[in-house]
Amino acid sequence: MSDNSAQRIGLSLAGITKVYPGVVALKNVDLSIRGGEVVGLIGENGAGKSTLMKVLGGTIAPDSGAIAIDGERFDALTPAMATSRGIAFVHQELNAFTNLDVAGNVLLGRELKTGPLRLLDRKAMAREVEPILALLGTRFGANDPVADLSLADQQLLEIARALSMNARLVILDEPTSSLTISETQTLLDVIRQLRKKGVAILFISHRLSEIEEIADRVVVLRDGCNAGDLSKDQISKHRMVQLMIGRDLNQFYDKRDHMAKAPVLEFRNVATSAFPESRVDLSVRAGEILGVAGLVGAGRTELALAAFGIDARLGGEVLVNGRALPSSSVSASIEAGLCLVPENRKEQGLFLDFPIYENIALPSLPRLSRHGLVDHRAEARLANGSRERLSIKTSSVARPVAELSGGNQQKVVLAKWLAMNPRVVIFDEPTRGIDVGAKSEVYRLMQDLANEGVGILMISSDMEEVIGVSDRVAVMCNGEIAGILNAHELSEEAILRLAVG
């Protein structure tokens, strides 16, 4: 890395636009970065950060706009071009090969070979990797198996891999989302080291305090557009939030006290396979929106899946309306009135190539059939009714769901469950990847449901959302409920304090 880092990178994106059927991912976005600079890239989920990063990495070709690297202009990059010009990624989802050792991972695809048979030269590979590990101050060595490394160490491994490719621009996508506070500090120190060496760092994070601490400049995206830049002295949490959401924070939904009402969903001593030692007790009351906050990996989704019946429970009971649900039977949960709007809409919630009406009608088919045959007209009636009620924007319910925008796709998932007259709905990250306008519509739908007496459990990593929408918030940490906050106790600080344990 020493040879190239002398030549600092100068990169700029100008007027980048990327359109998908039904959604504008990026619109005239500009971004520039130079060697020795740490730029924070922030924006809400769905603001276009990841699409922009894919343009930089060469996996997506923009529809218009220009990319300039060291004065050289491109319409689009390929992954090979991005790598050869010193752009390296550290992805949010770590993709280390746990069947290889550290050196094997770092030099993957560029293995050193020796002898006439071109066998792997493991010693030379270790010699190549050790100095990089030393620079990063890692606790692991070049020949340690990656299967044994913690998430934080795997993160450092990815950075080592980037550096071994003479990276001049390292893009860190939510690098701290699964790290503890001390691990985060180590990572920030590494970033400072790299900055001193002249490496450019693009730091994407939701954790504004980290951005405040490390960034020299902040670029804010909102709804696929540039929402504003902040120079070092302008960076403050307040300004960043303002630019991200495009308004001040004072819009709150009315909070109500539901403690007098009957619980519709109860967890009693529930243990999940992710945290077999922990026990969860929690109840959601009729008409209540209970937020569930916590860091990624705190066991929130696992709890939802154990209740819904996707995963088996290791112990305890889940009750809907006072009746215990059998373990691992999704159909029994649905019948009892429990529905789940899953985290991963496209993989778990929808059949993208199927028409909208088939997606909505799927669980209701027994009701929509006569003599075992599906009644198409009844299906269409149901779908058109949902389309009107949830204002799903489409030319026809016979169109494939894939053509809809994220927000409208989420409405289709919701429509599917509303047709089943649920008593409780679990929302897992309900607004991930959907634009701001559709977000407020989803919130309104949740409020309407709650007003009708449906209990709502909302898992969310979006602080604004948790604080703004929930009547109460349960905070999870390491598979357990670390505390429950009532409406008047809600603040970002209070939640974080409980979330980090």
């Binding site: 359109v19 996707i310 159909s331 919630g349 929808l350 190539d353 088919l365 599906v374």
Partner: protein
Amino acid sequence: MQKKDIGLAVLVLVVGAIVALINPRFLSPINLANTANLIGLFGLFSVAEAFVIVTAGIELSVGSVIALLGVLFVDLIVVQGVPWPLALVIVLILGGVIGLLHGLLITRLRLQPFVVTLCGLLIYRGIARFYTADGTAGFSFGDKFPVLEWLVSGRTGGVPHSIIAFGIVAVVAWVVMHRTILGRHLFAVGKNEEAARYAGINTTRVIILAYVICAFLTAFSAIFFAMYTRSIHPASHGNFYELYGIAAAVLGGFSLRGGEGSIVGVVLGVVLLQILQNLVNLLGIPSSLNFAVMGSVILIGVIADTQIANYRSRRRQALALEELASAERPLTASQ
């Protein structure tokens, strides 16, 4: 009918017309009846294969099951003296059991369908050869089963009963796949098994059912093949039939990734493949090129299909861009 089916129907008619023009014997009653008989025989197990393919699975043991169950059926009625209706029921039940076994291995032990049914292909073929000591299972002179023979290989008004049976099976299969809840669940599981589970579908049950339906129908076709050939060489009887069935399904618009296809398509696929075989015979193309012609037509069909899909998605992209541009214009004008 889906768009793909219409395209395929046009192709069938065009190829048929060309063959008929070049060699009018194609339309002779004898040739038509023979072709219809083959369409019926091969169609039965091709529809069976479609039920598995739509779930993103594969069934490779079709040919071996046809050999094993054919050998057993002939042995039961000729050697063991079992009344043929009872033998028929036994063979159909055995087929169902084979399908159940495959389904259980795939869902409960999470084995890959390719591996499970490949092992089935080897095992059933081996058992069939062992059972007859590699000899031939067949009818000797004087064995007479007039009712069975009339039912299975007879003709009514010149129409072979095999294609009538295929017609009935195809209609029932169409209703099941395209009009019932089970059909919806088959497509859902094939397109996205995880989402199907999240929608409350018992995916294990659906997949097992697909393999049971497939093997049951295959057993049914085994009886037709046994009565058609009348003497079964267990080393070669039914060889490559699974590939024929897969080819017909793919030609008929089924994707091996699952969740796509139609019964109308697979029926047309079977018809087209038989016309192609006929074409090879009637046009004097060396019959050794038989498989090559089939392979080339399928390849061309699949390439054309993906190219059309690419073209459509590019056009959608362009339309979306235009929409954005036109939405922007009034905005800039007002500034």
